[in-house]
């Protein structure tokens, strides 16, 4: 079964359905309540959880389990389909020349993720370069440079230049020979108007093939509004969820892809450049539903 790694209370509720071929309204209520709990504990947006559970409930009561399917498997299938409808497949990333722009809140993991993605592309046989446009955070240049040394990939930055847009332009020129350009940006949040204007300018100059929003797996209910504001500013094509090596479930990323009509591209699972994985829906959905 796709969802065999469920939280214990949800599993417990499902066990009580064992052997049943039809679900009563009460059965469905109980399952839906446990699913709500899991998703809320995973930081999925409260209103999105309610929408999701409403459609699960409606379908579970209306649709007949196909012959030979137990009621338990039927309701699980519905849950899975409804979740997949939101997360979708991993963001498509063609193995060809392209420019990727990273955006996100302060400390979400952009710089680390830039080096990780560059490492990932280099393993796929492409030639990546990271361009560091963060002129604000102390040590940002050195951090990105050192991470790129660890990833053994090309790096461009200019510690003497204070304008991120200039760095982006000069960086693209200087790394012209690279196949994949990964443009790192300073951290910012949706209420910082000047910084939002700045990333709009960077986006305009770079014209990325892919703008990725980098989200900490632990982000709470603010995920929705932040995602909305980044989407409005630069258009979000995909999400990278970082710090999944902790206990946070990453439900904010579900909210974000729903809000930006995009998908999840990569997962970050540690502090070294190799700690990157392509997104895979099954594992993520199981995590959201509880370990």
């Amino acid at each position: 079964m796709v969802l065999d790694n469920l939280g214990s209370s949800l599993r417990g509720t499902l066990e009580t359905l064992q052997g049943k071929t039809r679900l009563s309204e009460e059965d469905v209520e109980a399952v839906v309540r446990e699913i709500q709990r899991s998703l809320l504990q995973a930081d999925v947006d409260v209103s999105l959880v309610m929408e999701l559970s409403d459609s699960i409930k409606t379908r579970a009561l209306k649709e007949e389990p196909p012959g030979g399917t137990s009621a338990r498997d039927h309701v699980l299938k519905i849950v899975y389909e409804e979740m997949v409808a939101i997360v979708g497949e991993s963001t498509e990333i063609p193995l060809e020349p392209q420019t990727i722009l990273l955006a996100g809140l302060q400390g979400s993991g952009k710089t680390t993720s830039a080096a990780k993605m560059a490492w990932w592309f280099s393993k796929k046989g492409l030639r990546p370069a990271v361009i560091q446009t963060d002129t604000f955070r102390p040590g940002a240049y050195d951090q990105a440079k050192q991470m790129c040394e660890r990833a053994e990939v090309e790096f461009y930055g200019d510690p003497d230049e204070s304008d991120p847009v200039t760095i982006a332009r000069e960086g693209l020129e200087a790394t012209e020979d690279a196949d994949v350009h990964i443009v790192d940006t300073a951290g910012r949040h949706g209420l910082e108007d000047e910084l939002i204007a700045e990333i709009e300018e960077i986006e305009g100059l770079v014209s990325p093939d892919l703008s990725l929003l980098v989200f900490d797996a632990a982000i709470g209910q603010g995920a929705k509004e932040q995602a909305r504001q980044f989407e409005e500013a630069i258009g979000i094509d995909g999400v990278m969820i970082t710090k999944l090596d902790g206990t946070a479930k990453g439900g904010g990323a579900l909210t974000a892809v729903n809000e930006t009509d995009s998908s999840i591209a990569f997962l970050g699972t540690g502090e070294t450049v190799q700690d990157i994985e392509r997104f895979e829906p099954n594992g993520f959905i199981s995590r959201l539903l509880g370990m």
């Binding site: 809320l40 409260v46 050195d142 710090k243 902790g246 502090e271």
Partner: protein, 281 residues
């Protein structure tokens, strides 16, 4: 008389509101249980609705939790033997290093001298980052090579402070997730070897349900005296503060409100409660 079924709906709405504000579910449910107990069987006046009463009870419960252990931080610093050593802990990227720079400024404005110690000997660019802060603020920084022993760096800074009559040592640590056994063991060692006068746990206001996990793990590993909640400027309700105070029993002391050195404020429990309740309307 208020009965169980009168409470069901208002309590459910409150639970959703608390979750919407990022209060952790277990914490929210325990608070609501307390409210339920308190209200069952009480009588309400004609002018009050059950929802109003529940909301009042919630206000008190929230204030109770968030006021836990509040102490006069400035006074404790003033009275402590110098140098006072403060260590900053927390998961990756929450704002430990920036908060050290801010607090250094906070203390210097009150006439104390401070030295920064870079106990993050791990992350790329960590030395350069804190060195830049030290230069900007014209503070002494004690740092070792990358890969060095973090406890030794902070220990050196304490010796430096003693030899140079510095009042306060601000010791940084590398960000680490509470799930990393090795790094948590290292934190335990730093705490044991350095024996800080104060340990401040740093977390971010935008954090969701996970705040409970990490606050309790960090508090178990290197007992904290209080917390700093950063990125309070990023439009979140800051329910993480409730979660942290509830599970650690330690006070939130400061809010980080931006990326500049003076973007730090003393935390005021009543203000958070007011803003949490406001969000619900």
């Amino acid at each position: 008389i208020i009965e169980e079924e009168d409470l069901e709906q208002p309590l459910w709405q409150l639970e959703m509101a608390l979750l919407q504000s990022d209060v952790e579910m277990g914490v929210a449910e325990q608070m609501l249980d307390t409210i339920r107990e308190k209200m069952l069987g009480t009588t309400r006046k004609q002018v009050q609705t059950t929802a109003q009463l529940v909301e009042e009870a919630l206000h008190d419960a929230l204030l109770d939790v968030i006021s836990v252990g509040q102490f006069d931080f400035d006074q404790r610093i003033a009275e402590a033997d110098k140098p006072v050593t403060i260590i900053f802990t927390g998961v990756n990227g929450v704002g430990k290093t920036t908060s050290i720079a801010k607090l250094s400024e906070y203390f210097e404005k009150q006439g104390y001298s401070t030295v920064l110690a870079n106990g993050d000997t791990y992350r790329a660019g960590a030395n350069e980052q804190i060195r830049k802060h030290a230069e900007n603020l014209d503070r002494k920084l004690i740092a070792h090579e990358q890969g060095g022993d973090p406890a030794a760096v902070i220990y050196d800074a304490v010796e430096y402070a003693e030899a140079h009559d510095i009042d306060i040592v601000l010791g940084d640590t590398a960000g680490r997730l509470h799930t990393s056994n090795d790094l948590m063991a290292q934190l335990e060692k730093i705490d044991r070897v350095v024996g800080p006068d104060m340990t401040l746990f740093v977390d971010e206001a935008v954090a969701g349900q996970d705040a409970v996990q990490r606050a309790s793990k960090f508090n178990e590993t290197a007992e904290i005296d209080g917390a700093i909640l950063t990125k309070a400027d990023a439009d979140s309700s800051g329910g993480a503060a409730i979660s942290i105070a509830y599970v650690t029993g330690k006070p939130i002391l400061f809010l980080g409100t931006g990326q500049e050195y003076d973007d730090v404020e003393r935390f005021i429990p009543e203000e958070l409660v007011a803003s949490l309740l406001e969000d619900e309307e």
